[in-house]
């Protein structure tokens, strides 16, 4: 059914993505798919990494840690000029770049603000050309 599952990941807040992580893991196992963890960071130092290279290494390390139990993993780091604004666009690009056929991503419970400013999950689901599973 699915061969490549893309999972956008925020290395700052792993706790809030636990359900989505499990979900991606279980689906990968079910279909024998590869999970590609996609992270977006800035060129300036962030709380996760001092440099783009360090960020890539950390994301790759995370992906390796998630491998095993019958699933294969990859990582795909994106360094962006202005992640706070460009996140959705960067993720939509990544869907094409990684050749994913399913996106699994965590999203918070939408609030009133999201009527004018959609959640990242909502935006991806609305614009990606592949199936998107938004885990709340």
């Amino acid at each position: 059914m699915f061969k490549r599952i893309m999972m956008p990941i925020d290395l700052r807040h792993l706790d809030s993505q636990a359900r989505a992580l499990t979900c991606a893991h279980d689906l990968a196992k079910l279909y024998g798919a590869t999970v590609i963890y996609v992270g977006v960071s800035a060129a300036t130092p962030t709380e996760v990494a001092h440099t783009p290279a360090e960020y890539k290494a950390k994301l790759a390390g995370f992906a390796t840690g998630q491998a095993g139990q019958g699933i294969a993993t990859e990582s795909h780091a994106i360094i962006d000029h202005d992640p706070a604004v460009d996140l959705d666009g960067a993720l939509l690009h990544a869907v094409k770049d990684t050749g994913a056929d399913l996106v699994v991503m965590a999203s918070h419970d939408p609030g009133i603000l999201n009527y004018i400013w959609p959640t990242n999950g909502g935006k991806i689901a609305g614009h990606a050309h592949v199936s998107v599973l938004v885990v709340r």
Partner: protein, 543 residues
């Protein structure tokens, strides 16, 4: 190199020397949800700068006479007593930058030896130019060469042993040709190497300590070599708060002046009344456009607007060059450059000046002004300069903008001076500062179109300033995070507009502008220390 350190942090991209600190970016931040908005702010810096800005606005409005009196005294007191310091320091910045171009340290690449530039030359240049002085060129491009030309021609007057005229150096009484040369040289001195060296020092310090050393993108990081871990405590809070303060008030006062110029232009063109109401509407409109740009981010907002503005400014320049006195302008360009080189040593001499009005009222004032803008412009330049070598960086931030300024001043100022000298037109020389540009354009064909483009340029340059200023203030008040929630930028953008409107209506703009200039003095000390920090940081990169 870093690969071998115990912390085993991978090198940025290729070789670089990461500073090993226990500080994690965002560790002092306060993350919460206010209504529907997510908030991620640096704990003391956001609150202290926000509160002190509000307190200052209240002071300037509640006790306008006292505030005006105090700041009216403070500004000349600073420029009169510390003129030698401002001028000497600015010379040091220029020499330091020129030294970096020729020294082997110029080979160091911002972001590590294998980093690649984030932006093309055009996009990069457009952004640093728009943030740096786009608006000033619109305001002073015609008026400053005219002023210095006029005062030079008038010669010197002495009362009780003190010069009372405003002529630069000894003036050139009655000598029209030499007055033009001296006037252009003095203008270029204020808009050429010195201001850009001030920006370059701050920008280079921030870029180096952020991209190569791994410290947060905030002003305090440049002080790590000096203060060590203390930089994360109160020392750093004070430095960052001062930077926010200078940036916000610098922007707010400039928004006020920009509104004045745009209003004057609209009045000239369409008969729109000159009033506070029009200016408030203009500030609101500028802020609204800036908001759209803020929400679209760095690449979709500031960059696009900067490129549009560069294109428009270039067209206007080309137009004036072609329909104006082309030959006179072109020979004037070469002549102005030569005059600048010739007069520079005398103009830049910090001690023993007799032209006190010029050297204190113009030069020292300008230097304090550039310095107070430097945290904002420097930080923005740093943000877009990753991947450039230090040599490339200085050449593009120091030499090329200086040349563009010479060209701009030669074309706009030169045309206006020719109108006065050759055609005997007095409209430009008699007009108030904010109208001189439009009066000059008015003497050329298609003036309603070019004046309209002029107004658009003023407005869009303000939008880019307001937008990039919001990005910078948000980053500083978020402890160096550039990915804090977008509503925070929106907040700062609106806050800037609101402060500008309140001060414009309450008449506090002049007092607060004096306050901005006053922050120039402590910041000049900060910049001198930055030069030393840059030198140390670059040396460690070269191993």
């Amino acid at each position: 190199m870093t690969d071998e350190t115990e912390t085993s942090i991978p090198a940025p991209e290729g070789d670089a020397e990461i500073i090993d600190t226990d500080y994690t970016i965002g560790q002092d931040n306060f993350e919460t949800q206010v209504g529907p908005f997510g908030v991620d702010i640096h704990n003391p810096v956001f609150l202290i700068s926000g509160m002190s800005i509000i307190a200052f606005v209240f002071y300037a409005l509640a006790l306008p006479e006292q505030a005006a009196g105090f700041f009216g005294w403070l500004r000349p007191a600073l420029t009169a007593n510390f003129d030698w310091f401002f001028m000497g320091a600015a010379n040091i910045f220029v020499l330091f930058c020129l030294f970096l171009i020729v020294s082997p340290l110029g080979k160091v690449r911002l972001g590590g030896s294998d980093a690649t530039p984030d932006y093309s030359y055009i996009g990069w240049f457009a952004m640093l130019f728009a943030a740096g002085m786009g608006i000033g060129l619109m305001f002073y491009g015609v008026s400053e060469p005219m002023s210095h030309f006029g005062t030079s021609l008038g010669g010197t007057t002495v009362e009780n042993g003190v010069r009372t005229d405003w002529a630069p150096l000894g003036g050139a009484a009655g000598d029209e040709a030499e007055s033009i040369r001296l006037g252009m040289a003095a203008t270029i001195y204020h808009w050429g190497l010195h201001p850009w060296a001030i920006y370059a020092v701050v920008a280079l310090a921030l870029a180096l300590f952020s991209y190569n050393k791994g410290l947060p993108l905030t002003i305090r990081s440049a002080f790590y070599p000096l203060l060590g871990e203390r930089v994360w405590g109160w020392w750093g809070h004070v430095i960052d708060t001062l930077a926010v303060f200078a940036t916000l008030f610098g922007l707010a006062t400039s928004l006020g002046f920009g509104a004045t110029q745009a209003n004057a232009g609209l009045n000239e063109l369409f008969g729109v009344p000159v009033s506070s109401t029009t200016e408030v509407i203009l500030i609101t409109a500028i802020t609204a456009v800036a908001l759209i740009s803020v929400v679209r981010g760095l690449d979709g907002g500031v960059k696009v607007l900067s490129e549009i503005n560069m294109g428009l400014a270039f067209l206007l320049l080309l137009f004036v060059l072609i329909v104006g006195p082309t030959v006179a302008i072109l020979t004037g360009f070469a002549d102005s450059l030569l005059a600048y080189v010739e007069y520079l040593p005398a103009l830049a001499m910090p001690l023993g000046r007799e032209d006190v009005n010029f050297s204190q009222g113009w030069t020292a004032f300008y230097w304090a002004w550039w310095v107070s803008w430097s945290p904002f412009v420097g930080m923005f330049i740093a943000r877009v300069s990753r991947g450039r070598t230090v040599r490339e960086f200085i050449i593009c931030v120091l030499l090329i903008p200086s040349l563009v300024c010479v060209l701009w001043m030669s074309v706009f100022g030169g045309t206006a001076i020719q109108q006065v000298v050759q055609d005997g037109v007095t409209a430009v020389s008699e007009a108030p500062l904010e109208l001189k540009l439009f009066k000059m354009l008015g003497e050329l064909p298609l003036s309603s179109i070019t004046s309209f483009i002029g107004i658009i340029l003023v407005v869009v340059f303000f939008v880019t300033s307001s937008d990039s200023g919001s990005l910078v203030i948000d980053t500083i008040t978020a402890g160096g995070k550039i990915d804090a929630p977008v509503p925070q930028r929106v907040f700062w953008c609106i806050f800037e507009g609101a402060v500008a409107i309140v001060l414009l209506i309450g008449g506090g703009l002049a007092a607060l502008q004096a306050m901005v200039i006053s922050t120039g003095l402590p910041f000049t000390v900060i910049l001198l220390l930055m030069c030393w920090a840059i030198y140390k940081g670059l040396k460690s990169e070269r191993g």
